[in-house]
């Protein structure tokens, strides 16, 4: 089996490959769904994921014109989420250009493949700054060096530089105008920022091209040697790599689940299919 010709790479799929080639193979080539538990505390894990998703939805609603007061009133049953929300309202949007696009997806092509990025928020000013905002709801703020090496940082900035012209007055966005901000709303909306440059874009392009070429040319997809990467991988029983990890050791912000967006927002129809 090989990767489908119309497969679109995302930061999530590339991060999977970077972490474990076998995981990439199972998930994207064999398309094997594997419902084993990710952590030992599945309900708490689920609660965190749902809180994160709801926070992202709140921001989207706010940016589409739903008044903050109406949204705040809906948070009476979740003090933690309400705290994130307050932090967002206080500092989340400060200093951002006025032209904003929430939950927007861009794509470019590289090495004969599509490369897709789904952004929480793009705030741009034609001729001025072009800022990528990614909301993080996890309990920890990782190091700059860790984030710098993540595929999300590499892919998001690169794709915006390549595919964001139509949001920037029709002009290509100079890499130097691009900045990526991770905003940790559970930590007082602390912001970790990553500037961009033409040189960095060149390096990123080379790295991404090499990864895509490696995947397309791969004859084998070996299991990672770093077993710590298996702790939260649902395939670990298939690979005989032990039990699920503890939630306290898990970084929810690195739980990539963006692959479903690849399908152009396909719906689920609520009308029954024909029963003939």
């Amino acid at each position: 089996m090989s990767l489908s010709p119309d497969f679109a790479f995302t930061q999530g799929s590339l991060q999977d490959f970077a972490d474990c080639a076998r995981r990439f193979e199972l998930r994207f080539i064999r398309r094997m769904r594997y419902p084993a538990l990710e952590t030992q505390e599945p309900l708490q894990f689920e609660k965190r994921m749902r809180q994160g998703a709801r926070f992202h939805k709140l921001v989207q609603q706010h940016l589409l014109g739903v008044p903050a007061e109406a949204l705040t009133a809906s948070l009476a049953d979740d003090a933690e989420l309400a705290g994130w929300w307050r932090n967002y309202l206080a500092r989340g949007l400060s200093g951002l250009p006025a032209q904003r696009f929430s939950e927007i997806t861009l794509q470019t092509h590289l090495a004969g493949r599509r490369l897709v990025a789904k952004y929480d928020l793009l705030a741009l000013e034609p001729g001025g700054p072009a800022i990528i905002v990614d909301w993080k709801t996890g309990a920890r703020v990782p190091s700059q060096s860790h984030l710098r090496a993540r595929m999300q940082t590499i892919v998001y900035r690169y794709v915006l530089a390549q595919a964001g012209a139509h949001l920037y007055g029709g002009e290509s966005i100079p890499p130097e105008r691009i900045r990526m901000d991770y905003v940790y709303v559970a930590q007082g909306a602390e912001r970790l920022s990553f500037a961009y440059s033409a040189a960095q874009m060149g390096e990123d392009e080379a790295q991404l091209s090499a990864m895509i070429a490696a995947i397309d040319g791969a004859e084998a997809f070996p299991l990672t040697n770093e077993e710590r990467r298996c702790r939260f991988c649902s395939y670990r029983t298939l690979c005989d790599r032990g039990g699920a990890g503890r939630l306290e050791d898990f970084d929810l912000d690195e739980y990539a689940d963006d692959e479903e967006d690849e399908a152009f927002m396909l719906d689920f129809d609520q009308i029954a299919e024909i029963e003939f």
Partner: protein, 707 residues
């Protein structure tokens, strides 16, 4: 229809594709005329001219109809920019109601406007319908003269409410509309009154519990979300270019939205398939769609077929004309070469004949299996299995699709459900011996039926799996083998430990725990099995969706044992009945076996079609639905007018005529007719399709010079 024979585009198509960016085009024609090809090329052209992808909306009545667009967009790797949106009225209204919920929830009548909405899939709507109205039905002895099971009964009430929302009349009018057209006596009138009462009770329940079934979601979207400025501004500001395909298969609610967006968009291409509209029983309204024609400055037609050979065209037109459709029949072209048949007395002989004909086409005439479809009005499990078995033996790759399939019928799901009952003895729902045999076979690798039966007979006692050592006879243990016995013990011990620990997991968590800890491990049945993994994931998704839709209920002081309720509802066929991911499989290779309408809604052409059971009444007769009626509840049926036998007869003829036209327009070379005097059930069959074919052939022989 995206057809392999279409490229390159004709001059007429190219002219439409490159029409000026500003302007609205109405494009109609017969299926196979290249309309969807124009739509697909138009999207690519818009993007090529620098139109932002986010401003393009592809709007279709059903997601399968968007496949050519999605395939083209995915295949066009050169694109840099945003993404085109592909939506149905269901998906778009859901997103809009969810996004603008807190602006409209109070005005829309929800009792807790500050709580989140809970959108119900069809299966969950049926579940909540059961909760909301079953006490009423039992207490007042509703529907006592209707002889169909409760889930089907409730699904028709849901269907009535959906029709009201799609067509645009209040749900309080359902009963009166049905009564005035269909009630022939007091008993019938009572049934419709009961259906009305239940619909209103369910609506009240939904408003009280912040639940939105499809009908309420649509109503809220149309009457409330569309009325608030930020929502309207968002949609109008975003979607400047519309591509609407299959508009005749869509419903008045969709047509309302398209009409509204036409007022603000810069360009539009609306594609209308003439002589179609076969989703009428799902609310499709070609007449309502046609009103959009006047909103377009330019009208274009593509009526030249790119698909059918002459004889196939003559066949379709002849059949259509025979059934009274206003299509021009070319009596000077002989349809006979497009028609291949052989009469059989018994049904299995007909299935054998079909398999032999397919083999001949593939092996001797080099036809790709992708270019063959086998259709029937209904595709029973027996027929599907019979065909699949014979074709697989002949080495013919195939794929099969039913629009809905009960998850409980999937081996992996049945196994998980059986083991869940074992692990929850307090439910008092012990599995039967038969279920245990089946579950052991599926759960333990290389365990055959005989040994699974032996294990069950000797070790399944009082709802519990006893240890292998309890099997007293060493000879019997050796026959089963100690290797299998060891794995059996691991399974039994895992379940015992689960019971002892009294985990009380949510049922989806239980499924995941069992899957990860045991069934997916080496030596067990789901190990490295993609199908089992997919089915298990579908069951987990279904159970989790159930839990997420219900866990808020505790706020409303309704205590439910979610896990037990889930398993009960699966058993009753109320939930876990839909399996939408199977549509994805349609992209795969092989001969397609499907119900006729399912094939049509894939909107693709093939070289050869096999129509099976042509004597069946199912080709023309509506499903028995005593509580609902797709025509009486349509916009075109005037309230107060009686629906007569003659209306039913002419509907049957028109429905069959449209179906046959639609099928032949998706067929290039020939149609094989599968006929047996006796049906699958052993009854004589002489339905309208058979009669029509015979009449047409007689007429063609009489009137056609070449026949």
């Amino acid at each position: 229809m995206a057809d392999k024979a279409r490229s390159p585009l004709t001059a007429a198509q190219s002219e439409l594709v490159s029409a000026p960016l500003q302007g609205k085009i109405w494009l109609e024609g017969i299926a196979g005329g290249g309309k969807t090809s124009v739509g697909v090329a138009r999207v690519v052209t818009l993007l090529g001219q620098g139109v932002p992808a986010e401003s393009i909306l592809i709007f279709v009545p059903q997601r399968s109809l968007a496949q050519p667009y999605i395939a083209a967009l995915r295949g066009w790797t050169a694109h840099r920019g945003g993404q085109v949106s592909v939506q149905t009225i269901g998906s778009l209204s859901l997103q809009m109601v969810e996004t603008f919920w807190f602006l409209i929830s109070g005005d829309a009548g929800f009792k807790r406007p500050q709580d989140l909405p809970n959108f119900l899939s069809l299966e969950l709507a049926q579940y909540f319908m059961t909760r909301a109205i079953e006490p009423l039905v039992d207490e007042r002895d509703y529907f006592n003269s209707v002889r169909i099971d409760r889930p089907r009964l409730y699904s028709q009430i849901v269907d009535n409410m959906n029709k009201a929302a799609l067509v645009g009349f209040p749900i309080s009018e359902i009963g009166s509309r049905l009564k005035s057209a269909l009630a022939s006596g007091v008993e019938q009138a009572h049934i419709f009154d009961d259906a009305q009462t239940c619909a209103l009770a369910f609506r009240k329940y939904c408003l009280t519990h912040n639940l939105l079934d499809f009908s309420l979601q649509l109503e809220v979207f149309r009457d409330h979300v569309w009325a608030v400025q930020p929502a309207r501004a968002y949609l109008r500001g975003r979607f400047k270019h519309l591509i609407v395909d299959g508009v005749e298969e869509d419903n008045p609610a969709s047509h309302f939205l398209i009409h509204e967006l036409l007022q603000s968009c810069e360009s539009a291409l609306i594609i209308y398939d003439r002589d179609a509209g076969f989703r009428r029983f799902l609310g499709a309204d070609p007449d309502s769609a046609r009103r959009l024609r006047d909103k377009c400055e330019r009208k274009a037609t593509l009526d030249e077929t790119f698909v059918m050979e002459e004889a196939v065209a003559a066949l379709g037109a002849g059949l259509g004309a025979q059934l009274g459709l206003s299509v021009k029949a070319e009596w000077d072209v002989d349809p006979a070469p497009a028609l291949i048949t052989e009469a059989h007395r018994y049904h299995p002989a007909m299935v054998d004949w079909v398999a032999r004909q397919v083999e001949t086409l593939v092996r001797e005439r080099d036809v790709s299996p992708n270019d063959i479809v086998i259709v029937a009005p209904f595709m029973s499990d027996a027929l599907r299995f019979g065909l699949a078995d014979r074709l697989t033996q002949r080495g013919i790759p195939l794929r099969s699709h039913r629009p809905s399939r009960a998850l409980r019928d999937e081996p992996a799901a049945r196994t998980l459900l059986t083991l869940a009952r074992l692990a929850h003895p307090h439910w008092n729902m012990p599995p039967t011996d038969f279920d245990i045999v089946f579950a052991l076979m599926a759960a333990i690798k290389d365990l055959d039926l005989v040994r699974a039966k032996l294990l069950t007979e000797m070790l399944y006692r009082n709802g519990r799996l006893l240890p292998f050592a309890e099997m007293r006879s060493t000879a019997m243990q050796e026959r089963i083998t100690f290797d299998i016995g060891e794995r059996y013990d691991r399974l039994a011990a895992w379940i015992d430990r689960y019971i002892d620990r009294d985990r009380g997991d949510a049922i989806d968590i239980f499924f995941r725990r069992l899957y990860g800890a045991l069934l997916s491990r080496a030596g067990f049945g789901f190990h490295d099995d993609v199908d089992a993994g997919n089915t298990a994931q579908n069951l987990v998704d279904s159970a989790r969706g159930f839990r997420w839709s219900l866990d808020f209920m505790s706020r409303y002081d309704e205590q439910i044992d979610l896990s037990q309720d889930y398993v009960k509802m699966v058993d009753r066929g109320v939930i876990a009945n839909f399996y939408l991911r199977d549509w994805i499989a349609d992209a795969e290779e092989g001969l397609l076996i499907a119900p006729a309408y399912t094939f049509l809604l894939n909107n693709r052409a093939v070289d050869y079609q096999f129509w099976l059971n042509i004597g069946s009444e199912g080709w023309s007769r509506r499903l028995y639905q005593p509580l609902t009626h797709p025509y009486v509840l349509s916009r075109g049926w005037p309230p107060g007018i009686l629906w007569t036998e003659e209306d039913e007869r002419s509907l049957s003829r028109e429905t069959l005529g449209r179906l046959l036209l639609a099928l032949t327009r998706r067929c290039r070379k020939a149609v094989y007719l599968g006929y047996s005097e006796l049906s699958e059930s052993g009854y004589e069959q002489r339905g309208l399709l058979l009669e029509t074919i015979q009449s047409m052939l007689r007429r063609a022989a009489r009137e056609g010079p070449n026949v």
